[in-house]
Symmetry: C2
Subunit: 117 residues, 2 copies
DNA sequence: TCTCATAGTTACCAAAAAGTTAGAAATGTT
DNA sequence: AACATTTCTAACTTTTTGGTAACTATGAGA
């Protein structure tokens, strides 16, 4: 998310990648979408993404919120409670992401196995 | 494309991201798909992706080929001629990617404009 | 008073990704 | 002989990403 150049602004594809094409964003969106209530707390997400560090989860959630893809609701309690959920925009993105994930599951072997052989 | 860990192997979503979720891969796939003949040469691709350096285009094409998403055909001529096209696996991926790109075009403002305001 | 729990942030460091520049081949043209 | 063409590769540098560990705040309970 460095400086924004003209060519960058002009290319929606690049925009897409840069907003949720990083290491953890899709996994967060996917996890939120799979949740029954549609709402998850910080540590709850952490338990579903065990190899994502606290720092990265925090940064990922912040970016997704700033990109309008998730909602963040803070309850003024102690200890703090913060609930995350997909925004309407985020929900509208899920069919595309799900399509991608299904493809990944189906073509896993075509794409990956060859490399290890 | 770093080292491969157990959790990494176990997660097809992460696999997807790592194979074509980088800075340029989707743009290459999209560009090849848009081409009328379905075949493009190296410099032809370059002209469609002006802000991608030669080195990165080369590396991206190599990765896509190793991931079985594109075909690379070399003609033994001078100067060299190399033609790239989508593989069958690559073609099967395009609906998902197109879906993502269409979403990006439609929701560009929701996701991006807020940040500059 | 001490500790726990939650949801983070910050500083520091290492690794990875990506950009720049140069050049390697091989051969046809000037 | 010099140069252009095309598709790369290598060396070097900068930028970005991601990990670890320590720190914050607050109130409840022991």
């Amino acid at each position: 998310m460095a400086d924004i150049q003209a060519s960058y602004l002009a290319c929606p594809i690049r925009q897409v990648i840069s907003r949720f094409g990083d290491k953890w964003s899709m996994l967060v969106l996917y996890t939120l979408n799979e949740s029954e209530t549609g709402v998850m707390r910080f540590n709850e997400l952490r338990h579903h993404m065990t190899d994502c560090s606290q720092k990265m989860l925090s940064a990922t959630l912040k970016n997704l919120e700033q990109s309008n893809l998730i909602n963040r609701k803070v309850y003024p309690e102690v200890p703090p409670r913060v609930e995350y959920s997909l925004s309407d925009t985020g929900k509208s993105l899920m069919p595309s992401i799900t399509s991608l994930i299904n493809w990944a599951n189906e073509h896993f072997d075509d794409v990956v196995t060859k490399q290890l052989a």
